[in-house]
Amino acid sequence: MDNIFDLIFSVPFMFSVLRLTTPILLATLSSVISERAGVGNITMEGTMLISAFVGVVVSAWTGSAWIGFLLAVLAGGATGYLLSYIIFKMEVNEILAGLSINLIGSGGTVFLLYALTGVRGISSSLSSKVMPAVDIPMVKDIPVIGEVVSGQNVVTYLAFISAFVIWFLLFRTKLGLRIRAVGENPDAAKSVGISVFRTKSIALVIAGVLSGMGGAYMSMGYVSWFVKNITAGRGWIGIAAAAMSGQHPILGMLSALLFGIADSVSNTLQTINLPSQLVLMIPYVVTLIAMCLYAWYALKKKQNEKASKA
């Protein structure tokens, strides 16, 4: 057992927590901004897959990780727009529209990978590029903290910065005000001439961009290839994390970290002699339990509020 604790409270473990939190955090932020705009967006999984795929293919073609990343993020934004078009212009139920996009994400990427490059299932034959890791000057020299925080992939930093950017956007800008208004009372927004479609679309495009960054990170940072279903449910974990934060970007970051830790524990335990599949269950089961606990807590809180009002 000592062995396990040594592993868990080590620098590499902490380092990997940040590494593993990255995609979950981006999915969480994506869900937060969608929910704030009043859209039950469940496309994180599909969008991440699409972007992961685009990133690999484009970076292999152009030989540039940054162009690959940029196009991956754009693809994410485009998927967000597609979702808003399907929901608001074609008037499809948002959940079923989301399911359709997820289907496209899971099947379409594998198909296109073959159609464009002739390889099946996994892109390891492509010489795709990886986003660089960055050392932070000064910080990197601080013992322990420096080792954990510095030297992460550039997307990891982008993800944590995004949490604050999204917070600023939602609570300090005109667009954020409109997004929240549209999410809370679309009729009110509409009645003062705000285009509900446009505002929600913008929110969904931003959500798509965030998921897109998460997807690109999966295939161009976390690993260096694209493989069928590479996201493995991280999008769904992100949705759960967002729900647990009460749709708040900063609290969302904390709950994403919680799941990053679960993921990291699972990864670490694999290295010692524990059954890998059993260990792989950990993040999902932890998320499920956390989801239930949070829902229970929220329910109790509501009941208490009622009682105190009486």
């Binding site: 300090r172 800008t173 005109k174 954020g176 005000l177 409109r178 929240r180 208004a181 809370e184 009372n185 009729d187 009110a188 927004a189 509409k190 009645s191 003062v192 001439g193 705000i194 285009s195 009622k306 009682a307 009002k309 009486a310």
Partner: protein, 516 residues
């Protein structure tokens, strides 16, 4: 005076085929308060929605200050200086008053939203029109009257010269109403035009300069307010005298069927909505419960139907305790219920008429075997009820959502009346339905009374509750404020005094009258 707004030959057909506006012509002057009256479903709301760009006319043209405008969105309407205060407030609860006011025209400082400027703008308008509001409080924390004021400021900020108010007084207290009227008159004197939608005729008389009346989707008249009386307006609205006599013989109540003793209930936010209410209902009588909305008369029906939890006290049917039993048990014991809102609790919109008629008795022996439903019996029952209750439809398999309100209500009524109930709870039986269907339902109620059912009736229509009830309890603030054994001796004026809490009987008096 100048004409500021004109609508010509407006026709509106909704996607479901309902023609809500038929060839409407209308004009409003600058600086007048113009009332638009009509019954529920007369097409007022549809017409206003078109003036505010929420709906688009299928045919016809709208002119503002002499120029034709195409109001394809609210934004367009705002551009044409039309503002609207909706019946359900168009406010975002978690934002502050100032944030709500500037929504859509937000001031900015760099990329940030300029909160200080928002507050300043709001205060400026508030001062100019003498409409003070708490700028920094969240909208969810302010009073209803204040919310309405915020709505008016919002419209004014956007340069509204024509202000549409959709039944603004329904949610206000009398004092708030008076304040609102003063504010509106002030706005009129400043040169604003106000379209005041209402069916409270005395308010129209008190406030407005002119009145236009709608009926069945048509604009039937426009008059100077000084030229018409309230009776004239109401005649134009319904096309016959509103006061109609419900014909019935005197009731002959027999044994007590239902006993309610000292029940107390709380609503979802924990407020006491029923406070130690006691009453008894006998077979062969229509027991009316009257009150201004939210005083407990609706809740007492819900408590009996077990739709809400009874905190203390007891309800018994033929001396058998039924307090807080499952709804299923309550139904099986012979209590049926016409719910207040037929679309929420009374029907499944996409289900066929037959399936809607089955609800609640799908476990009854008559309609189901051990495993399979008895389809033939269900079909026969549905066909029988459609005929018996004269439901206008294409057949038992038609989706109920496609029927008119009156016919939907007939289906609900048919289902609840035909289960041989001992007690029938009737909540707003004729709300928003045509007079034909309403009359039919009322006659059925009297007929069932004569068959010996115990009926409890709640209706916001005073004429209905007075005309139909044999005995009547008046609710005020969750308590019974008065009881009348014989309603034929009661006038509407006197009833009003009790409903508004001006007069009150003491408990002993009520008990003496009820159990005499």
């Amino acid at each position: 005076m100048d004409e500021i707004l004109r609508a010509e030959h407006i026709v509106k057909i909704y996607d479901n085929g309902v023609m809500a506006n038929k060839d409407i012509n209308f004009a409003a002057q600058k600086g007048e308060i113009h009332a638009i009256c009509g019954e529920n479903g007369a097409g007022k709301s549809t017409f206003m929605k078109m003036l505010y760009g929420i709906e688009q006319p299928s045919e016809g043209a709208i002119y503002v200050k002499g120029k034709e405008v195409h109001l394809t969105s609210s934004a367009k309407a705002i551009e044409c200086s039309i503002g609207m205060v909706h019946q359900h407030f168009m406010l975002v609860p978690s934002l502050t008053v100032a944030e709500n006011v500037v929504l859509g025209v937000e001031p900015q400082k760099g990329i940030r939203f300029d909160k200080k400027e928002a507050v300043r703008i709001t205060e400026e308008i508030a001062e100019k029109y003498n409409l003070p509001v708490p700028t920094n409080e969240k909208v969810e924390d302010i009073s209803v009257g204040m919310k309405q004021r915020v709505e008016i400021i919002k419209a004014l900020l956007k340069g509204a010269e024509i202000l549409i108010l959709d039944e603004p007084t329904t949610v206000l207290t009398p004092q708030e109403t008076d304040e609102l009227f003063e504010e509106l008159k002030h706005l009129r004197d400043e040169g604003h035009t106000i379209l005041f939608i209402s069916h409270k005729l005395y308010e129209v008389k008190k406030l407005c300069d002119r009145v236009s009346i709608m009926k069945n989707g048509r604009m039937v008249a426009t008059e100077n307010i000084s030229d018409v009386t309230e009776t004239d307006i109401s005649r134009l609205m319904v096309g016959r005298d509103v006061v109609e006599v419900i014909e019935k013989t005197k009731a002959d109540p027999k044994e007590t069927v239902l006993k309610v003793e000292n029940i107390t209930c709380k609503n979802s936010v924990g407020r006491k909505v029923l406070d130690k209410v006691s009453m008894r209902v006998r077979s062969g009588e229509i027991f009316g419960v009257a009150g201004v909305e939210g005083n407990g008369q609706h809740e007492v029906l819900e408590a009996i139907a077990s739709m809400c939890h009874v905190e203390s006290g007891s309800i018994s049917l033929y001396d058998k305790d039924i307090t807080n039993q499952s709804i299923r048990k309550i139904r099986d014991m012979g209590i049926t219920h016409i719910p207040e809102d037929r679309m929420v609790h009374g029907t499944a919109k996409k289900f066929s008429i037959m399936n809607n008629i089955l609800a609640g008795r799908h476990r009854a022996k008559k309609f189901t075997g051990k495993v399979l439903l008895n389809e033939r019996a269900i079909a026969e029952e549905a066909e029988y009820l459609i005929k018996e209750y004269r439901v206008k439809c294409s057949g038992k398999n038609q989706e109920i959502g496609m029927l008119s309100g009156g016919n939907i209500q007939k289906v609900v009524v048919a289902r609840e009346f035909s289960q041989d109930p001992k007690v029938i709870l009737v909540d707003q039986p004729s709300r928003g339905i045509d007079i034909g269907a309403a009359t039919f339902i009322r006659e059925k109620l009297v007929q069932l009374r004569d068959e010996g059912k115990a009926i409890i009736l709640n209706s916001a229509d005073l004429n209905e509750v007075l005309g139909l009830s044999d005995s009547l309890a008046v609710f005020y603030n969750g308590k019974i404020a008065a009881y009348f054994e014989d309603t034929s001796l009661l006038t509407e004026e006197e009833l009003g005094l009790y409903m508004l809490g001006v007069k009150k009987m003491d408990t002993a008096e009520i008990e003496r009258r009820m159990y005499a």
